[in-house]
């Protein structure tokens, strides 16, 4: 079993990995039940699905995590609509870490691409790492 990712594990400038997936009908149905008012263009997924893809990639790539991490800040730019059924690859890179007021801040950059490598979204997330 892999060792838990701790604050000391992070190396700024290092790729943490990439994850590829398609938002399936089950996830999309659950989204529509939670946010029934959220409609997108006919052939595209709702904008917020980019956040879901980012979080799912984070869950798969940065594992195992210590319990109790806290999401402190999020930047996200939508570069193109994500098509229904599109395979999306998200890469996450550590771009910084800082100990501040006894809290461990980890800065992650993400970049997602879709069919034929077309850019879909870029983002930055700041996580207060638990251990």
């Amino acid at each position: 079993m892999a060792a838990v990712l701790t604050f000391d594990s992070f190396q700024p400038g290092a790729s943490m990995g990439r994850a590829t997936e398609v938002i399936d009908a089950e996830v999309l149905d659950a989204w529509r039940q939670l946010y029934p008012w959220d409609a997108a263009a006919a052939d595209a997924l709702p904008s917020g699905i980019a956040t879901v893809l980012l979080m799912r990639a984070y869950m798969r790539i940065l594992t195992p995590r210590p319990p109790g991490n806290i999401h402190a800040r999020q930047r996200l730019e939508l570069l193109a609509p994500i098509a229904s059924g599109e395979e999306v690859t998200t890469e996450i890179e550590c771009v910084g870490k800082e100990l501040k007021r006894e809290r461990r801040y980890v800065e992650l950059a993400c970049r997602a691409s879709g069919k034929a490598g077309r850019p879909l979204f870029d983002g930055r997330m700041t996580i207060i790492w638990a251990a």
């Binding site: 008012w37 959220d38 879901v52 799912r56 806290i70 402190a72 999020q74 930047r75 996200l76 730019e77």
Partner: protein
């Protein structure tokens, strides 16, 4: 309810109950015990379960799309801080107003039932000659 104009975003609200938190955990695959395990969450400095920050952040995207249409989301960007935790059964509402500082920029937020901002930051939309769409 706030009147919607191009200078203010159409508000979008959600009650973040247990069912919503668990549904969002399944959607994202994020079963961090601070969200889904009341006993663990009670043992942390936060003192209890908090909802996933992005569960509420999504309301900002939805507020933008409801105001300007989903086509306007291409090139849109959000930069937010999760300022306060969202607790189970909180009622949160996303909204925003046009910033005076920069064309196409909006100050955005999600506030809880007490009017406290739990998320705050900015959103930027694609800018045309006429300004943000």
């Amino acid at each position: 309810m706030m009147e919607t104009t191009l200078d203010s975003l159409k508000p979008v609200a959600l009650t973040v109950d247990r069912q919503a938190i668990l549904a969002y955990a399944r959607i994202t695959g994020d079963f961090n015990p601070i969200h889904v395990d009341p006993e663990f969450a009670a043992s942390t400095p936060l003192g209890g379960v908090i909802a996933h920050g992005t569960l509420s952040l999504n309301l900002i995207w939805q507020s933008l799309a409801a105001t300007f249409g989903s086509q306007a989301m291409r090139g849109a960007a959000i930069d937010v801080r999760f300022a306060k935790p969202v607790r189970e059964n909180d009622r949160v509402e996303a909204g925003g107003r046009r910033s005076t500082n920069e064309p196409g920029r909006f100050d955005v937020w999600v506030k809880n039932q007490d009017g406290i901002a739990v998320i705050e930051g900015t959103a930027t939309l694609f800018v045309t000659k006429e300004g943000a769409r």
